[in-house]
C-alpha cells in the first residue's frame, strides 16, 4: 500500500514536470526553429534544410539595420548616463552625512515604483512635447534614465556601503591625494556594482517597447522593439521570414547578458533589479 502511494506520487510528479516543461517550452520553439526554415510560416516546423537566408534578408534591409542602431544608441546612451550619475550620487549618499538623506532615498524609491508604465507616460509625453524632445533619441534616453536612476542609486549605494571605508582611509594615511584615491581605490572597487547597474539598464532599455512606442514618431528613429511590431502594422501580410530572424537576433543579446550575469552574480542580481 505504501509502495503504491509512492509510485503514484512519483508518476504524478513526473507528469506535472513534463506538462509544465511543455507549457513553458512550446511557444518558444517557434523562435528557435522558424528563422532557419526556407519558407517560414506561423506553423512550427523543424528546419530539415536549415538556411540562413532569412538572416541575410535582415542584414540587407536598411530599415532593420537602422532600428538595431537606434536600439544601441538608446540603450548605451541611457546605460552611460545612469552609470555616471548613479555612481556619483551613490558614493556621496553612502559616504557623506547629509541632512535628509534617508527621506530623499525613500522618496526616490517610492516614486520609482509608483510612477511606472503608461500612467507615467501621459504627463511625460506632454512634457517632452512642451520642451521639444518628442521624437528624439535624447528624449527617450532622458526618460529611461530618470526612471532607472532611483533604483540604480539605491543599489549602488548599497554596494558602496558594503565597501569598507578603511580602504580610502588607508590610502589617505599612505599619502594619496583625493584624485589618486578615486582613481586607484574607489573606482576599481565600485566597478562590479557599476557593471551590474549598467547591464540592468541596458537590458531594460533594449527590451522596452512602451517608451519608444509613445515618445518617438518617425520610423528612422525607432528601435528594434518597435520596428518588429511595425512589420505587421504597415504591411498587409506579416513578413514572417523577416520577423522570425529579426526576433531571434534581437533576443540573443538579452539572453547572452542573462547567462553572463546569472553565472557571475546569481539571481539576487536580477531579482533585486527587475521592476
Amino acid at each position: 500500500m505504501k509502495d503504491f502511494k509512492k509510485v503514484m506520487f512519483r508518476l504524478g510528479y513526473n507528469v506535472l514536470v513534463v506538462f509544465l516543461s511543455a507549457f513553458f517550452a512550446l511557444p518558444i520553439l517557434w523562435l528557435i526553429f522558424t528563422p532557419f526554415n526556407e519558407k517560414p510560416t506561423l506553423a512550427l516546423e523543424f528546419p530539415l534544410n536549415p538556411t540562413l537566408a532569412n538572416f541575410a534578408k535582415v542584414f540587407a534591409n536598411d530599415y532593420t539595420i537602422n532600428a538595431f542602431q537606434n536600439s544601441l544608441i538608446q540603450s548605451f546612451g541611457a546605460t552611460f548616463l545612469v552609470i555616471i550619475l548613479a555612481s556619483l550620487a551613490a558614493y556621496a549618499f553612502s559616504r557623506v552625512r547629509l541632512p535628509g538623506k534617508g527621506i530623499i532615498m525613500y522618496i526616490l524609491v517610492l516614486f520609482s515604483s509608483v510612477v511606472t508604465g503608461i500612467a507615467a507616460m501621459v504627463p511625460v509625453f506632454f512634457l517632452l512635447l512642451k520642451v521639444g524632445l518628442i521624437d528624439t533619441h535624447i528624449g527617450v534616453i532622458l526618460v529611461f534614465s530618470g526612471g532607472f536612476l532611483p533604483t540604480a542609486v539605491f543599489l549602488l549605494k548599497d554596494f558602496v556601503d558594503s565597501i569598507s571605508t578603511t580602504y580610502e582611509e588607508s590610502a589617505l594615511v599612505a599619502g594619496a591625494s583625493r584624485l589618486q584615491i578615486f582613481k586607484d581605490i574607489i573606482f576599481p572597487l565600485t566597478r562590479p556594482g557599476m557593471v551590474v547597474v549598467g547591464v540592468f539598464t541596458f537590458v531594460q532599455v533594449w527590451s522596452n517597447f512602451l517608451i519608444p512606442f509613445l515618445l518617438l514618431r518617425s520610423s528612422e528613429k525607432m528601435p528594434a522593439a518597435v520596428a518588429i511590431y511595425a512589420f505587421t502594422n504597415d504591411v498587409g501580410i506579416p513578413k514572417i521570414d523577416l520577423i522570425s530572424a529579426y526576433s531571434l537576433l534581437y533576443t540573443i543579446p538579452v539572453v547572452a547578458i542573462y547567462i553572463f550575469t546569472n553565472k557571475k552574480y546569481g539571481f539576487r542580481f536580477y531579482g533585486g533589479l527587475k521592476g
Binding site: S164, T166, Y167, E169, S170, A171, L172, V173, A174, G175, A176, S177, Q180, D184, I185, P188, L189
Partner: protein
C-alpha cells in the same frame, strides 16, 4: 634613517553631533615609545587614534608632532602609517602593488619602488607572495602584508587599530611577538589601540586606560596592573580578573572590621593603612588579585568553601565561596587534593589589597 617623533595631545575634545567621543584628553608619547590605548568599545580609543592620524579633526585642543602643530594637517602631511583592524588591503591589487602603493603616491621611481618593495617583503618573509592578490592569502599573511605596506615608506609614526583582533588565538600570540620585535628593532614611535588588556600589557612601554572618552589611568603596564587607579581599571585589567568584593569598613579601637556580605573579618588597623578616613556608613570595594590570595595550611585569615577547581596547565584557578561572595585564587600548585564544598582556610596578602570607594570608584589604598 627615520626621524624619531614625539607626540603631544593637549586637552583634546572630539564631538560627533551631540556625542562626545573624546572628552578633554591630554598625554605625551616619547620618541620611539610603544604606547597603548586600552579600553572597552566606545571608550574613544579609536577616535583618539584617528585624530592622531588626521582622519578626524579635533573639536578642541591641539596635537603636536615634535612641537609642530598638526591639529588641522591632512593625513598625508603627517608622514604616518596605519594598520587597520581589517587590514584594508586593496583586493584589486597584488601584494607587491599593495606594498608599493605609499611609494607610488609619493612618485618614487619604478626601480627604487621595486627594490624597496622586495626589501620590505623579505623583512616580513612574504617575498614569495608578491604576485598574489590579498584574497588568496591567509589571515596571518594578510597581516604581514599590511605591516609591510605601512612600513615601506619609513613613516615617522606607526598607528595600529586593533591589528590582531581578526586572527585566531595562536596566530595572535605569534603576531604579537613579531610586532614587539619589529617595533623594538626599528624604534618607531608607535600607538596601539586595543580592547584586549593582555595585548596592551604585553606590548606597551606605557599605556592609557580609557573609558567614556576620558583617561582613567596612565602609566607603565606594571603600575597599572599593581595599582589600578580606580575600580573600573581594577576590574578591566588582569586575567583572571581581580577579586572585587563590596564591603563596609568599621574602625574599632585600633582594629578594622571588614564586613563582607555574609562574613566579617577583623584585622589590626596597621595592616591596612588607608589614605582617607573611613566612614562606616559608606560602601567600599575590597580588591585583591587572585595570586595574592593564598591557601593556608592550618589557620588562615578567613575560611572559604570550594566552589570550582579549574586546571589551566601552568596554574590552577580555584573559586571559593567566602561568605556570599565568590573569590578567585590563583596558585601554581597542582594536585591540591581539594574537593568541592570543602572548607579551606585562606590568607590575604594585605600589602596588595586595594580599597576603592564604591560611589566614586577612587583608590584609597
Amino acid at each position: 634613517m627615520t626621524q624619531i617623533t614625539g607626540i603631544k595631545l593637549n586637552s583634546i575634545v572630539k564631538r560627533f553631533g551631540d556625542v562626545t567621543a573624546v572628552n578633554n584628553i591630554s598625554f605625551e608619547i616619547k620618541p620611539g615609545e610603544f604606547f597603548a590605548l586600552l579600553g572597552p568599545s566606545g571608550c574613544g580609543k579609536t577616535t583618539t587614534l584617528r585624530l592622531i592620524a588626521g582622519l578626524e579633526t579635533a573639536t578642541k585642543g591641539t596635537i603636536l608632532f615634535n612641537d609642530q602643530d598638526v591639529t588641522r594637517a591632512e593625513p598625508k602631511e603627517r608622514d604616518i602609517a596605519m594598520v587597520f583592524q581589517d587590514y584594508a588591503l586593496y583586493p584589486h591589487m597584488t601584494v607587491a602593488e599593495n606594498i608599493g602603493y605609499p611609494l607610488k603616491v609619493r612618485k618614487v621611481n619604478e626601480k627604487e619602488k621595486a627594490k624597496k618593495v622586495i626589501e620590505t617583503a623579505k623583512q616580513f618573509k612574504i617575498d614569495h607572495l608578491l604576485d598574489r592578490k590579498p584574497g588568496q592569502l591567509s589571515g596571518g599573511q594578510q597581516q604581514r602584508v599590511a605591516l609591510a605596506r605601512a612600513l615601506v615608506h619609513q613613516p615617522k609614526v606607526f598607528l595600529f587599530d586593533e591589528p590582531l583582533s581578526n586572527l585566531d588565538a595562536r596566530l595572535r600570540l605569534e603576531s604579537r611577538t613579531f610586532l614587539k620585535h619589529i617595533q623594538s628593532k626599528l624604534g618607531i614611535t608607535t600607538i596601539y589601540v586595543t580592547h584586549d588588556q593582555a595585548e596592551a600589557l604585553a606590548l606597551a612601554d606605557r599605556m592609557a586606560v580609557l573609558k567614556d572618552g576620558q583617561i582613567r589611568q596612565l602609566g607603565t603596564p606594571q603600575e597599572i596592573y599593581e595599582q589600578p587607579a580606580d575600580s573600573f581599571v581594577a576590574d578591566f585589567i588582569g586575567d583572571p580578573p581581580m577579586n572585587l568584593i563590596d564591603c563596609r569598613l568599621n574602625p574599632i579601637k585600633g582594629n578594622l572590621e571588614i564586613l563582607f556580605p555574609g562574613i566579617k573579618v577583623t584585622i589590626p588597623e596597621e595592616k591596612l593603612v588607608l589614605n582617607k578616613k573611613v566612614d562606616p556608613k559608606k560602601d567600599y570595594i575590597f580588591g585583591i588579585r587572585p595570586e595574592h590570595v593564598i591557601l593556608a595550611d592550618r589557620k588562615g585569615d578567613i575560611e572559604g568553601k570550594v566552589y570550582a577547581i579549574e586546571t589551566l596547565g601552568s596554574m590552577t584557578l580555584i573559586t571559593l565561596m567566602v561568605g556570599d561572595s565568590r573569590v578567585r585564587v590563583n596558585t601554581h600548585e597542582m594536585n591540591l587534593g581539594l574537593k568541592i564544598e570543602q572548607e579551606v582556610p585562606i590568607k590575604l596578602n594585605y600589602d596588595m589589597v586595594r580599597i576603592y570607594e564604591k560611589e566614586s570608584g577612587l583608590l584609597i589604598k
